[in-house]
């Protein structure tokens, strides 16, 4: 107590001294520990996008920082924000509460909102830079080039087409992915110093052996071949491969598609072909051998195709194609039904006896799947009709492969994922690190992609992070959340869409993006709600100017309130032994 006498102090004791001398923290039997975990969305994202962090930055209105955060893990936010099948939203914990966060739309928003911004990149300073050849400049090869460059290596990209981009450039139509978006994202990758050699086809332009001059190879040739139907009459000039049609269209060539077309297949390529044909004025029928629910295409693609007037026939399979005298083609289909064969649990499409149907059209597009061309590759790199993800050639030279050429889902984001993974694996290899020691700590959950941020932190500090777990829904405290409607992306009306190849989805406006971002639970990531600070009964939680949380453990009694009131399970109580 202070020497100054105050009359009231005769009736009530007041101390002006500090109680800090009482180290009440010694009483505690548990202590709060910061526990950054992975959110389920980022585990689900094959590319390992830093979803909660970037969404938090959007909510704060820091769109440029949001872009930079994503670019650390994925060079294609503008592209993925448009074409990704967003498995992240399937796993979003908010789905258990009301509706998932609009992760895909928000990723696109980070690109759309920062068109005038070119972040500066600095590659990791590597004394021992290596030279790597990448074959194929699709999303996979480009991603590998990007991450290798960020890690300080020198990359030469060989692309057989005249421009890089692969499926993004030649496959996906403009109304889903404007070429301007792709151009900007590819430029950003190439600006890191990647040597781009277009019009170079390995095995044709130069022999494969010429790649011996590189320290490692990455093979990402994509699946450029179209699987054939295997039916009579398929060789007709009126039967086009869907992927060829898309390539022509994306080359800016004028195409006379014909008045009535049949598209055979049910994947994204089939939908791209069908919807593009509608835009060229065709009447379109999609024929698919299974049911609508089993279509591999994105559900929204099917909805939009229907809105645009695409018709569907399910459970039919072509058996014969004939040209008619009037310059048309007639396709005979076998009707199918779903059933099990020999009492097995697996349901198959089985022919309906005597059931067939014939459709006539000006043209038929086939889109039943793509194939990889291995003819140019040494046989030792092939296994079970896929390129091996990892092999060695020429005195133990590292050869990695990714994208559609290896056995993995043929999705853009999976292609990005395998390119990124290969870049990190090569860097680990060049540095002579033990892969097993590093991967568990930089992998997002059990099935997730690799975290470049974690890898770079490890490189800088020499300390490899412990594996972090994905926060389960049960560990969140949803009492702090209120139901909030998921905003819908504005979509061009069907009649407008059919006028050309204008982008269908219009993207979020800033306010919509911030509202959507505010719905994120930020599972496992502190987003500065300050609940721990406000609720701590002892006032021992502090936030430093750099944003880090500090707990004065000398005075923390271990009550656990901070952990209980953390909505996102960022604080866990650990017993003091």
């Amino acid at each position: 107590m202070d020497n100054e006498t105050r009359p009231f102090e005769f009736v009530i004791p007041i101390s002006y001294g500090s109680t800090e001398v009482f180290e009440t923290g010694r009483w505690s039997f548990q202590k709060p520990e910061s526990l950054l975990g992975w959110a389920p969305c980022e585990e689900a994202c094959p590319a390992g996008n830093p979803i909660p962090e970037s969404i938090h930055l959007i909510e704060e209105g820091q769109f440029r920082e949001a872009l930079e955060t994503i670019l650390l893990e994925n060079p294609f936010p503008g592209t993925c924000g448009r074409v990704c099948y967003h498995p992240c939203e399937e796993e979003c914990h908010r789905k258990k509460f009301d509706e998932p966060v609009s992760i895909n739309d928000l990723e696109r928003f980070t690109y759309d909102a920062t068109l005038d911004y070119d972040p500066e990149f600095s590659s990791f300073p590597t004394r021992d830079a290596r030279r790597i050849a990448i074959i194929g400049a699709g999303p996979c090869g480009l991603s590998c080039a990007y991450f290798l460059s960020l890690l300080g290596h020198r990359v030469t990209l060989f692309e057989m087409e005249e421009e890089p981009g692969g499926i993004l450039r030649w496959g996906i139509p403009e109304y889903r992915l404007p070429k301007e978006v792709l151009r900007k994202e590819v430029e950003r990758i190439l600006s890191l110093g990647v040597e781009m050699k277009t019009g170079m086809e390995v095995g044709t332009s130069f022999p494969f052996e010429d790649l011996k001059g590189f320290d490692a190879l990455f093979l990402s040739p994509g699946a450029r071949g179209s699987r054939s139907l295997g039916v009579k009459g398929e060789e007709s000039k009126r039967v086009w491969k869907g992927i060829e049609f898309l390539r022509k269209m994306n080359s800016g060539k004028r195409i006379k598609a014909g008045g009535e077309v049949i598209v055979i297949g049910g994947g994204n390529t089939a939908m791209d072909v069908a919807r593009s044909a509608r835009r060229l004025g065709c009447s379109v029928l999609v024929a698919y051998r299974r049911t609508e629910a089993e279509m591999p295409s994105l559900p929204e693609e099917i909805v939009e195709a229907k809105e645009e007037g695409v018709r569907f026939e399910f459970l039919i399979q072509p058996v014969e194609i004939k040209e008619t005298k009037r310059g048309k083609v007639r396709v005979k289909f076998q009707r199918l039904k779903r059933g099990s064969v020999n009492g097995e649990r697996k349901f198959l499409s089985i022919p309906v006896e005597g059931g067939d149907v014939t459709f006539e059209a000006d043209r038929v597009f086939t889109a039943i799947g793509e194939e990889v061309d291995f003819s140019w590759l040494p046989e030792s790199l092939i296994e079970n009709k896929f390129v091996k993800p990892e092999s060695r050639l020429w005195d133990n030279r590292m050869v990695l492969a990714g994208g559609d050429a290896i056995h993995q889902p043929r999705r853009v984001v999976d292609a990005i994922s395998s390119g990124k993974r290969a870049a990190i694996l090569m860097d680990i290899h060049f540095r002579g690190f033990k892969k097993e020691e590093i991967l568990s700590g930089i992998k997002k959950g059990d099935k997730g992609g690799l975290s470049m941020a974690s890898y770079l932190r490890g490189l800088k500090s020499g300390q490899w992070e412990e594996p972090k777990k994905v926060v389960p829904y049960e560990d969140l405290n949803p009492l702090f959340f209120k139901p909030k409607e998921r905003l819908r992306n504005e979509i061009l009306p069907p009649e407008e869409r059919l006028k050309g190849f204008m982008e269908v989805r219009r993207g979020f406006k800033s306010e919509e993006a911030r509202i959507s971002a505010s719905r994120c639970f930020s599972c496992g990531h502190c987003n500065f709600c300050f609940n721990c600070y406000y609720f701590c009964p002892e006032g021992v939680v502090f936030f430093e100017p750099d944003g880090s949380r500090r707990v004065d453990l000398n005075h923390c009694k271990g009550c656990g309130t901070c952990s209980k009131v953390c909505p996102r399970h960022v604080i866990e109580m650990r017993a003091v032994l």
């Binding site: 107590m1 105050r6 009359p7 009231f8 102090e9 005769f10 009736v11 009530i12 004791p13 007041i14 101390s15 002006y16 109680t19």
Partner: protein, 383 residues
């Protein structure tokens, strides 16, 4: 202006007139109507203060204490179990010397469960260091709220005003609601000599050595003793301004009385009727109403009962293993008076049982017949 309102609403009017900026409470029957009325006014903007809806009575009292230490007038209302839950904080309030004003609607304590009038809830808190007042009706409750702030704020001790469940809390009576400017004139804004000050951080309730603790207790007792003088002065000022006064208590026809009935709370009103009837029948009976229970107005009681032969203390409460609590207090107050009266302690109205004028007449006739002291309390079981 007179309004026909319940005791609970009379309390709410009293609080509003005192411009109490912070009310922290938790609803409990039969007090809830106070809480509701204040909430209504808060919603309509008539009440300028903040209504804190706390998660328990314990927190309500903690909030009042903390708010009071920032220098604002505070109020809470509770009853029975709620008051029991507050117990720990009641000691803190008096120890921190905060002039919190609380209304407690007397309700029996469980178990068994019930909602009916019984004074044991507040009397169980008699040693917590609070000023305690017992009110006869809604008008007195309203006036006591206003008076209590002035008394509490002069001596820096909290004050608890009790009125009985339903008999007062829910019964409607004509109540004169004073004008706001009159109350403003009577009750100046609170001005604590010391309060929480962010410019000069300090903390209340530090650990103190034994001697200091003893000294603070003694200082508090001196302040509590001074209440008897302060309360009378405040009551006189009130009477002068509003035309109504209650004193530390009230003596009715005691001058020539052979027997004086001693009551607190609503049974006083019933006793007034009983005294009138008995007087008409020729019995010389008087009535002493106890209003202030803490501090207990010992000297006043001694003076009013000097020379009386018998008193009949009616208790709507019972302390197991001892007796009616007002009975005990009367015995303690009179033990050193010369030729003190024979004290008969009647237990009536426990658990909300109705006490009629006839019940009281029977008690008086019983007491008049007795020649010897009775150590035990006498339980009235009629009705």
């Amino acid at each position: 202006m007179k309004s026909f309102i319940t005791g609970n609403h009379a309390v709410a009017y009293g609080v509003k007139l005192c411009r109490t900026p912070l009310i922290a409470a938790y609803p409990i029957t039969p007090q809830t109507a106070i809480y509701e009325k204040l909430s209504e006014w808060e919603a309509s903007g008539e009440l300028k203060g903040i209504m804190m809806r706390t998660e328990s009575e314990h927190s309500a009292m903690a909030s009042c204490i903390a708010a009071s230490l920032t220098g604002v007038r505070t109020f809470t209302a509770t009853s029975s179990q709620g008051l029991a839950l507050m117990h720990e904080m009641l000691h803190f309030a008096s120890g921190c010397r905060v002039p919190v004003v609380m209304v407690n609607v007397n309700r029996l304590l469980a178990a068994p469960w019930g909602f009916w009038a019984d004074q044991l809830d507040s009397l169980s808190q008699r040693d917590t260091g609070w000023i305690q007042l017992y009110c006869e009706n809604g008008q007195e409750a309203l006036d006591s709220v206003i008076q209590a702030y002035r008394v509490a704020e002069e001596v820096f001790l909290p004050a608890m005003i009790s009125l009985e469940a339903f008999f007062v809390s829910h019964a409607m009576e004509p109540v004169d609601i004073p004008e706001q400017d009159e109350v403003d004139r009577f009750l100046p804004p609170l001005n604590l000599p010391h309060r929480f000050d962010v410019e000069r951080p300090g903390f209340f309730v530090p650990v103190v050595p034994s001697e200091l603790y003893r000294d603070y207790r003694h200082l508090a007792q001196q302040s509590m003793e001074s209440v008897k003088e302060v309360a009378q002065r405040v009551d006189e000022a009130f009477k002068k301004q509003f035309g109504r006064g209650y004193g530390l208590g009230e003596a009715v026809m005691t001058e020539d009385a052979e027997l004086v009935i001693v009551t607190a709370g609503s049974i006083t009103s019933t006793s007034r009727v009983a005294v009138k009837i008995l007087r008409e029948k020729g019995y010389r009976v008087g009535l002493l109403k106890i209003r202030y229970f803490r501090p207990f107005p010992r000297e006043w009681v001694q003076q009013k009962l000097r020379g009386k032969k018998k008193i009949a203390v009616i208790d709507r409460n019972f302390s197991l293993g001892s007796g009616g609590i007002f009975g005990q207090e009367l015995k303690a107050a009179l033990v050193h008076s010369q030729d003190h009266p024979l004290i008969f302690n009647y237990i009536a109205g426990i658990g909300g049982v109705d006490v009629t004028p006839e019940t009281i007449q029977d008690m008086v006739l019983d007491a008049l017949k007795r020649r010897e002291p009775v150590e035990e309390s006498i339980w009235i079981k009629e009705g």
